[in-house]
Amino acid sequence: MQVAPSETSALNNYVPELRQQLFHYVLQLADTSLILGHRLSEWCGHGPVLEQDLAMANIALDLLGETRSLYQYAAELEGKGGTEDDLAFLRIATEYRNPLLVEQPNGDFAATVARQFLFDNFHYHFLRELHASTDERLAAIAEKAVKEAAYHLKWTSEWLIRLGDGTEESRQRLDQALASLWRYSGELTTPTATEKALQAAGIIPDYAGLLPKMEAHLNHVFQEATVPVPQGVFMMTGGKEGRHSEHLGYILAELQYMQRTYPGMKW
């Protein structure tokens, strides 16, 4: 996915503090798509059936496309002459700003579907609103990505229903997945100081406005799946501010190996 760079003058419209916050936030979005895309790519060649193997690789590639546009924009916002690759491959774990949910291990197919559903339900509704961003670049990226996210959410919703309302074993696996992953879902819509500043500036949507739509879709899908919506679970946060679970280090070790071992290597 390539989005044409907007006028460089548009970047200079931001006061330095806001520009720095926007840089960090665009990194957060890019890191999120990168890590989740990488997780999904781990399924490649290991899917339960050929068709779902391909479906997960397709979603991974969609996310990677979105990732590239975002890192390219982040590199411009940073203004230090760095590239998308520098941002993706040469930062350390505490500098990554992805929410905890997306770095959680694939587990079994049910865990991957549950993680993806919780993310897609946010991602799709978020992108629909981001489309109206006052930041032209983010609006353009959202316009492209929202169609992909719509399909992702359709795919994960279908599978959540199938697993929940499927066999005894599929239901048990989905229950286990939700029991371990639900606690990471709240971070997606819990704004950090950076996000609050950007919401106030009209650059990103207020999450309070997304919640009713997200809840309506989630309730509908869980009801179809005959799965009760978990209640009163303490929500883990911190990923968006660089406090990660131990899993991220292992992901980065694999993801960054080539650039760390052969600096500046190009395909």
Binding site: V49, L54, N58, K154, E158, R162
Partner: protein, 95 residues
Amino acid sequence: MTQSEWPLWEVFIRSKQGLDHKHVGSLHAADATMAIQNARDVYTRRLEGISIWVVESKHVHASNPDDAEAFFDPANDKVYRHPTFYDVPASIKHM
């Protein structure tokens, strides 16, 4: 783990408006909804289509290869069944 094979489906893709759906291959899926989604993921990754049909393979009935001679060879010498066999009179326009 339950081991049961999903049924086979035949996939037909319309590449653009005005063209016919064309058979492109087959795949496994538990039901029609999943078959269409799988077809989207397996067969339309490179902009191949704008519409998908799926038919469970068991509903496709095929002619028997042993009948091929009786079925198809008799048409071999019937050139008059092609419109090009006939001369169009000079007075007929717009053909």
